[in-house]
Amino acid sequence: MKMSILNRLLLLVTSLLAAWQVAVGINGAEALPMVAYTIAFGVLLVAGLLLIIFGFDVLDSPIVVIVSTVIPLSLSLGLVWEHLVAYRTLYLLFVIVGFLAILLTRLLPLRNKLPVIVLAFVHGIAGLTIFLLPIVWALTGRATHGFALVGVGGALIGVGGLLLSFLKAGKPLLSRATILKVLPGLLLLMTAAFVAGFALA
């Protein structure tokens, strides 16, 4: 499917927003969460550029599943490291093991449902963390209300992930054309929510 000029523009703005976030960083973040956030927004930035250069065909590559895991895993790691101090080591372990599990189950020629189960589990935990943690923190006064926007971004990344996962699994929730039509807008909204959320936190 050929990408429209509007979609290219949306992806360019997404990449610029992600680049902005990488450049300004997160105020007061320690080294590890800073690296984690840089990886997350860096992947968003490069993914946006690659989509502009290669078009939507790049989404058919098997490596997309692995790369798209990096965004929620690294974002959630940054959040947990900053806000759930007691669970830092445990969550870091989960991120490393989860990523390796996805990598292995995608690279090995497995014919059972293990790759899908692993992907759903790891994505699910990371996605729920990004969605719930900022909202709970904002509602309980442990962070400003603006920080809840990061949770909104988490919800949007979840919607995008679901749409793409079901599409790749051959059971699309919406037609491929519709998904590809809304994807750049969804990516932009998600990135804008993350950037605004971190700025207002």
Binding site: G42, V46, F54
Partner: protein, 295 residues
């Protein structure tokens, strides 16, 4: 009145023919490296007319040498599908007119540069000399390694810009020049692979035709890493803020991953995607070096 109108129309049509001779995108990219080189010097005082002079002298010298190259390579351009419609190869502009234009622009550019600063002028002249004499006239038709000299001449604008800003040659300037030199293979060799048959028809030795596609892709991957490292080290030495260094690292990682993908999953699409990304990467790196020096 009619004479004036026809003179203006004549000038407009000439400019329309001359503009493609300058390879505006390539010239623009090299010009951006020169301006970034100057900004990287962090001059405490920089007058707008100095900066304008730098931009104009570099543009004239780069465009002039590009036009002379096109004049010299007109027989090659006429044989290649990709270039046979260029104004000179298709006979819209005469060879004599093209050579005169190239010489006038080059002379103006170098003269202006020498007037502004003799050392800066010398570096600009060195870039022109390496590009026209060493790369195009001497080596391009003899060896695939000619791109090394093309790369050295490509690194001259950024070094020239830095020399203009500082007043002397320094290690960072040479490192920035090396960054462009290492970046050139990613730009040129992906192109040489895409138009492999064209170059063979024109009997121009290239890396793909001499060493094969696999060796060429590996060369691109290695040179991409070296280019990224050189720019990053130069950025740190210049004193760029960590945020800009992080952004540079992210963009470099994208370049490296695409180069690796072109080695292990080689397709025409990945190859040309790498070419486009490499151009974007260099422009972004130059913007970051410039903005990073301002803040």
């Amino acid at each position: 009145m009619n004479n004036l109108q026809s003179a203006i129309r004549n000038l407009q049509s000439k400019l329309r023919l001359y503009w493609p001779l300058t390879k505006s995108l390539q010239t623009g990219l090299l010009l951006s490296t020169g301006l970034a080189g100057c900004m990287s010097a962090r001059c405490p005082v920089m007058h707008w007319y100095d900066f304008l002079g730098l931009a104009l002298s570099l543009f004239l010298a780069i465009a002039g040498s590009t036009i002379i190259n096109m004049w010299y390579d007109r027989d090659i351009d006429a044989r290649m599908k990709r270039t046979c419609n260029r104004p000179l190869a298709s006979g819209q502009v005469s060879p004599g007119e093209t050579l005169r234009l190239g010489l006038v622009l080059s002379t103006l550019g170098v003269s202006m540069a020498v007037t502004m600063s003799p050392l800066y002028g010398l570096v600009v002249f060195a870039g022109l000399f390496f590009d026209v004499i060493v790369y195009t006239i001497w080596l391009k038709r003899r060896t695939a390694w000619s791109i090394l000299w093309g790369g050295i001449s490509g690194g001259m604008p950024i070094l020239a810009g830095r020399v203009f800003g500082l007043g002397h040659v320094d290690g960072i300037g040479i490192l920035l020049g090396l960054a462009v030199l290492f970046w050139i293979p990613t730009h040129i060799l992906t192109f040489a692979m895409r138009y492999h048959e064209d170059y063979q028809t024109a009997r121009i030795p290239t890396f793909p035709s001499t060493y094969g596609f696999m060796a060429t892709r590996t060369t691109i991957a290695i040179s991409s890493v070296l280019a990224a490292l050189s720019i990053a080290i130069a950025g740190v030495l210049i004193g760029m803020q960590w945020g800009f260094v992080r952004l540079l690292a992210v963009l470099s990682a994208g370049l490296f991953l695409l180069a690796v993908a072109s080695v292990f999953r080689p397709t025409e699409r990945v190859n040309f995607g790498l070419f486009k990304y490499a151009s974007f990467y260099m422009l972004s790196a130059m913007i970051l070096l410039s903005v990073g020096a301002l803040i």
